[in-house]
Structures are given as C-alpha cells and as structure tokens.
C-alpha cells in the first residue's frame, strides 16, 4: 500500500488543531473546488485535498491514520500488526489497497458496529464526465466507459475495481447532457440500494463543426469572386455532403442557414447547420491573376471604407 501524507497535502503540521486543519482545507477547497475551477488538474487536486480532510477532520479516522506512523509520500508500507488487529480486522490483502479506501472501510466498519448498525444506507452517487465525438451523438452510438470504482470486498476492505460500462449515447445528445446509470454508483449497505452513476457528456472539439445546442456552425471560406458573383459550393454535413448556393454579393460574416442539417433532436426533427462566410484571398498570385486584379482595381468604384469617410 502506498503512503499518503495527508498533513502535507493540506500543508499543516502533524500536531495541527482541528481548527487549523479546517482552515487549511477551506483555503485549498476555495481554490480547487470543481464547481469553482474548470481546470482538470484542479479537480484531481481537490480530490486529494478532500480525501485528506475527510480523514483528518474525523477524530477516530485521524487517530487511526496517525497510528500508521509517518512515511514518505508514495512509499510502500504495511500497517503494523496491532493496527491491523485494532482497525483493519483482516490479516492480509493490504498490498493493493488504497489508503483512503482502507480508512473508508474502517469508518464503514465502525458504522456497521455502531448504534445505527441495522439501518440500511443507500450507496453513494458518483459523477463522471466523458468526451464523445459529435458523430457518436449524431448517430446515437454505443461507447465503452472504463472506470475504477470502489467496492467492498468480503473481508470488509474497500478496493478500487476496474469496471467497463457499455452505454448508448442518446441520439441528439447535446454538450453537457447528463445520463443516469441507475444502480451503478456505490454499493448500498445493510440491504440499502446501490447509488447511481451520473455521466456528463461533453463533445470533443470537432475539426469542422462547432455545436451550440442542436445547431452546428462551420466556417465557409469563399474566394472574393465566388462571393461577388455567387456560386454553388459543396460543404460537408454530418449526414454527407450537400451543395449550397451562394447568392451573389455575399458578405464576410454572413451566416447561411441549412435547415435541418444540424444535430438530431431527441423527439423529432434536427437542428440547423449555419455556414459562417469568410472571404479569403490568395497569398500568392500568378502574373495573369495580378494583371486582372490590377485591372479590377482601376475600373471598380467600390469603396469598402465609405462609412468611415461619411462619418467625418
């Protein structure tokens, strides 16, 4: 089992008072709480901080932890035999146990043998986030969700076990949509039901489409002459390519809407696909092209900055 230095995680001395521990936790929680910070690394850090506080705020758990002695963080160690006798109950099987799981088992054991031992308890709900592609959501594909979830074993110790759930992404799921996997959360105790697993779906950035709700946006690059004269261009959609007519005199920034070519909606219909026009120019031109542009510059009366001139 790897040692975790919970005092170090919270940045307090081993002899810190409960008030000092609480203060240190609050300070770190304000910084790393997942509802406050969007940083993925912050979420991991908050888990560590929460785990440390969960142990050190509880006098019994803290005493049990302190009796393990002081080791280097990450160092392999085995709880001393008298500790196992007093807190663990199991003589073997500590090698692949996580320290927080061990202390959680100890707390659960205390609850089991405490005054409320006969009351059943619903298992904990877990929340996870997974990224899927737009195509997964468009077609309603199945994805495999690989998780490491805590489970109580026969000896009463808690272990993290790998589990794989195959889940269908609902057709028309949107970014941030939540799915509930009933009964796939933490184990219930004393006959209580299992908790649920909540899965939040987020979209992997797509190289072409940007989603908003059921609508999709894409950048439509046009050559100046295509925008001036109008044309027909082939553009991709999630259902295959389509031809889009570009009206003559299309300006940069204009959005051309392709009705029903966005993401499917849950009950019926589809969102729209919006093509946002960009006028792009060639960075290198041949001799003939340059001549033609020069001719155009001479004959054209178009002044793109007329509104600036009129303002004065």
């Amino acid at each position: 089992m790897k040692f975790k230095d919970y005092y170090q995680v919270l940045g307090v001395e081993r002899g810190a008072t409960p008030e000092q521990i609480k203060k240190a936790y609050r300070k770190l929680a304000h910084k790393y709480h997942p509802d406050v910070s969007k940083d993925v690394a912050a979420e991991e850090r908050f888990k560590e901080v929460g785990e440390a506080y969960d142990t050190l705020k509880d006098p019994e758990k803290r005493a049990a932890y302190d009796r393990l002695g002081s080791h280097r963080a990450g160092q392999d160690f085995t709880p001393p035999p008298d500790w196992q006798q007093q807190f663990g109950g199991a003589a073997a099987g500590f090698e692949d146990v996580d320290l927080s799981d061990l202390l959680a088992s100890f707390a659960a054991g205390a609850r089991r043998h405490g005054p409320r031992s006969r009351s059943s308890m619903r298992g904990q709900d877990y929340e996870v986030t997974t990224q899927v592609s737009l195509e997964d959501a468009y077609h309603g594909r199945e994805i495999d969700l690989e998780l490491s979830l805590p489970e109580y074993q026969e000896n009463g110790l808690m272990h993290h076990v790998p589990r794989t759930f195959r889940v269908r992404v609902p057709k028309g799921a949107t970014d941030g949509q939540r799915l509930r996997l009933p009964g796939k959360g933490g184990q219930g105790m004393e006959g209580g039901p299992n908790g649920d697993l909540y899965l939040t779906i987020t979209f992997r950035p797509h190289p072409i489409f940007r989603p908003h709700g059921h609508d999709l946006y894409l950048d439509l690059a046009l050559a100046p002459w295509e925008a001036v004269l109008g044309s027909a261009v082939v553009i991709p959609t999630l259902a295959g390519s389509v031809e889009l007519k570009i009206p003559a005199g299309t300006r940069a920034g204009r959005t051309l809407r392709l009705a029903g070519k966005g993401m499917p909606k849950t009950r019926e219909g589809f969102g729209d696909l919006h093509a946002v026009v960009q006028i792009v120019v060639p960075t290198r031109v041949g001799e003939r092209e340059r001549e033609l542009f020069e001719q155009l510059a001479q004959v054209s009366t178009f002044n793109p900055r007329l509104h600036l001139a009129e303002a004065h």
Binding site: F165, P182, D215
Partner: protein, 108 residues
C-alpha cells in the same frame, strides 16, 4: 474484461420531479429546497401549483448546492448566494458558447 451493458436514462428529459424526488436525488432536504425555490434559485414548473415539481435542470443545480454546502459548510443564505452566482455563470457560459460558435476559426 467483462463489459456491463447499461440502459442509461437521459436525465434532462425525465421529470418533472416532486420535491421529495429532488431531495432524494440531490441530497438537500425538502425544507432547504423550498427555501431555495422561495429565493428564486430553483424554479418550480408551475409556481401556482399546490404541489411543486421541478425540471431535471433544477436537480443538477440542487446537487451542486449539496456539494457546496457539504464541502464549505455553508448556511442557507450563503448557499442561496452561491447558487445564484453559479446560475449567472452558467447562463453567461451558454451565451459565450453561442457567440463562440458563430465566430470563424474558434473552437470551444
């Protein structure tokens, strides 16, 4: 490895949920939920109904509230303020996503 095939429930599409159900799903008490609804943080489907019910979006917010209350030891006033600010942030994030989707060459 064994693959468990799970029928997932699209949470946002279910409901509406009674106050008791929201309490079960979120971990907040019925009294706390009613206080939050009175403060305008949670929005009943029909505020004039004799028995309030809530959409799934309210459950998500209530779950966040339960987490914050537990992790920061918040009283109801502080929780109300925190959830009001979170609602504002989420609404601004949605608006920002809509604007970013329209801006050429930007990906979220």
């Amino acid at each position: 490895m064994k693959i468990e095939i799970v029928e997932a429930v699209a949470f946002e599409e279910c409901g509406p949920y009674s106050v008791g159900e929201v309490a079960d799903f979120s971990g907040l008490s019925k009294d706390e939920l009613i206080e939050l609804a009175n403060a305008g943080v949670l929005e009943p489907v029909d505020v004039t109904a004799s028995q309030w019910s809530f959409s799934a979006a309210n459950i998500a917010l209530a779950r966040t509230g339960c987490r914050l209350r537990t992790d920061f030891d918040l009283d109801l006033d502080a929780l109300t303020l925190a959830l009001q600010l979170i609602r504002q942030i989420r609404s601004l994030e949605t608006e920002l996503q809509r604007i970013k989707a329209r801006v050429p060459g930007t990906y979220l």
